[in-house]
Amino acid sequence: MTELLPFLKSLLSVSGLSAYEAPVARLIEAEWKPLTDEIHFSRLGSLHALKKGASTLRHSLRSQDNASLSRKTPRPSILIAAHMDGIGLIAKKVVDGFIYFAGVGGIDVRVLPGTPVLVHTASGDLPGVAAMPSLRLLPEGRGDGFLKTADLVVDTGLLPAQVSKRVRVGDVISFNTGPVEMSGESLSGHSIDNRASVAALTVALHELQSKSHSWDVWAAATTQEEVSLGGAATSAFQLKPSLAVAVDMTFGKGPGADGWESFPLGKGPTLGLGPNIHPFLHNRFKELAEKLEIPFAVEPMPRMSGTDAMALQIAAEGIPTMLLGIPARYMHTPVEMVALKDIQRAGRLLAEFIGALEADFIEKIVWE
């Protein structure tokens, strides 16, 4: 199989802001194509790849009382969704060669001053820096750390005329903090949220090459999670899976995050538990991880999970949904950090779960 590290590094070396996922989507498509039987893009740009299952038993679509209908319905399917879009910036106006911008997705403006960026123009990428003007040029009261996105500029070092010629309002701007290998088999860079989960899903697809599974598997790299969950919502509607699993990053324990909502790096994935999650699926994952001795933590999510799981669960008539989390430190900064081991474990757990799905599993999912 393609090694996890170089593949993930390639994903972290390109841009792919929400709604502008094409650069990363191309890499994922190339990797998934040989691993799956069908592949296509959705109307909103999500990548769907189907690995067919072996079962001849058809999904009853909960119409147990109508045996004739059930024979015509497709094989039961599981959708594994990992969003591929990342946060970033977008050009808002150009003044004297300085590019003012807005954020795409949830960005703490305080991580921006001094951050290397790439401006993606129609005529190629321009390196630059997100820069903080001298306080004397900013509105009163900005001295104590209070900055607004509107205060900052991207400076490419080009002359004003060169910038006007190449940069247009609406050009997207990504962080230019390439992946760096760190101690403890960890990796740091931008967009680890959620390319690390795409990598975990890829690990699962590799494992499934030599593992029989009765269910159809839809692997999806979804779009626009950081803004609207629009990719996952529409993919789930289109593919109508019997079950759905979202894979996303969760908070890595470390500086700035040491409460109950954070989990240590390198100690395994998390299993979401809360209203967005079907408890039956949660328990199945938990029992499986225990049986396989894959380390994990239960991640309590009292309200919304803030992930694709929210959209998957309420697609069409509703889908039993599960959420796997991979801990990352410093989420939504240009220097997120993840442990490779956690990605591998999440991928293996997914593959084992899929392999263990009985042909009639869907009938077993019950409340109480």
Binding site: M132, P139, G145, S183, V335, A339
Partner: protein, 350 residues
């Protein structure tokens, strides 16, 4: 005219990518020694780590002219080991803490990769977003189990880039001055004795230049540095009268800063030289800040001193921006000035 070609760019790239935080300038010192040893008549490394190189001219009544550029850059020192690859750190030099969160850094002589992370925005209370993150609460993170030593230095990990007319890099302040001194040594005029000080510890109080000036006991001195250009638009569109300097307008000649009233004879001399040679120049707006001039001017019984800087934007941040054209014009202004120096220059009253 001296030019900035591929060789000069390559040397500046090497200098900028080196890690040399005040008090730990070894990496830049090594590059400087390699460059100046074949060219200078005498080279020594003094008690503080300054590289002091002399190039004698020819003929009688030569003035001893000191040229200073500092080797050190701002950065960090690891001050406590929290375990698990996490280190507390303190800043070295004037760093605005708002440039630190979310940045990649290099730690120690082996340039171990590290990051300064930040609390995820998802876990933040609204009012936290409007407060400065304190350095006390930040950590340098080498990754789980990463090992460094308390006392090791670190700095920003950004790499030198050449883009269009500009250079984007950390530590342009003052590796660009170091590069200019090396180039001037290659083209040393014979009418003066050149005393080159590649100084240490400028960023924490001009300490290297003080002892270097004492050692050389020069007749006059030029401090070659890099100064902020705040030439950005104002938030309300009013004229920017706080620009300090502007990119692209040439070398910035100092008149006054917090530490020095620069020698008026030398200010006028540089201005006249630039005008005679057709080299663009600008005056740095008098105000705060300072350079090694402040230390050199008041050494021994006093040394007539002036500062000239290459302007750059975004001082002491992960990425500063300077123009190659300003670098070239600064090099040529000093070169032309050296060639015109006569003993009468500092004999007249100011």
């Amino acid at each position: 005219m001296l030019t900035i070609g591929a060789a000069q760019i390559k040397l500046l790239e090497k200098l900028c990518n080196a890690v040399a935080v005040s008090g730990d300038e070894g990496e830049v010192r090594k590059i400087v020694l390699e460059e100046v040893k074949p060219l200078a008549d005498e080279v020594k490394v003094d008690a503080l780590g300054n590289v002091l190189a002399t190039k004698r001219g020819a003929g009688r009544n030569r003035l001893r002219v000191m040229l200073d550029a500092h080797m050190d850059e701002v950065g960090f020192m690891l001050v406590a080991d929290d375990g698990e690859g996490l280190y507390q750190f303190d800043t070295v030099g004037g760093i605005d803490s708002r440039h630190l969160v979310g940045k990649q850094v290099l730690v120690g002589k082996d340039h171990l990769p590290g990051v300064i992370g930040a609390k995820p925005i998802h876990l933040m209370e609204m009012d936290e977003l409007t407060r400065k993150v304190s350095v006390d609460s930040m950590r340098i993170d080498l990754g789980p189990g990463g090992k460094a030593k308390v006392g090791e230095r670190a700095t920003f990990a950004t790499k030198f880039q050449r883009v269009g007319p500009s250079i984007l890099s950390k530590a342009i302040d003052d590796r660009i001055g170091v590069a200019i001194l090396i180039e001037l040594l290659k083209h040393a005029p014979a009418n003066v004795d050149l005393c080159l000080s590649f100084s240490v510890q400028e960023e924490i109080g001009l300490r290297g230049a003080k002892v270097a000036a004492h050692f050389f006991d020069p007749d006059l001195a030029f401090a070659i540095d890099s100064t902020p250009a705040h030439d950005l638009p104002t938030h309300d569109g009013r004229e920017n009268i706080f620009y300090n300097t502007q990119l692209g307008l040439g070398p910035a000649i100092y008149i006054a800063d917090r530490s020095t009233l620069h020698d008026p004879r030398l200010v006028r001399f540089l201005q006249a030289t630039a005008e005679a040679a057709g080299i663009p120049y600008q005056f740095r707006q008098p105000g705060g800040g300072g350079t090694d001039s402040g230390a050199i001017q008041r050494t021994r019984s006093g040394i007539p001193t002036v500062s000239v800087s290459v302007p750059h934007r975004y001082t002491h941040s992960p990425i500063s921006i300077a123009r190659v054209e300003d670098w070239k014009n600064t090099l040529n202004l000093i070169h032309a000035a050296l060639g015109r120096i006569t003993p009468s220059l500092v004999k007249s009253r100011t």
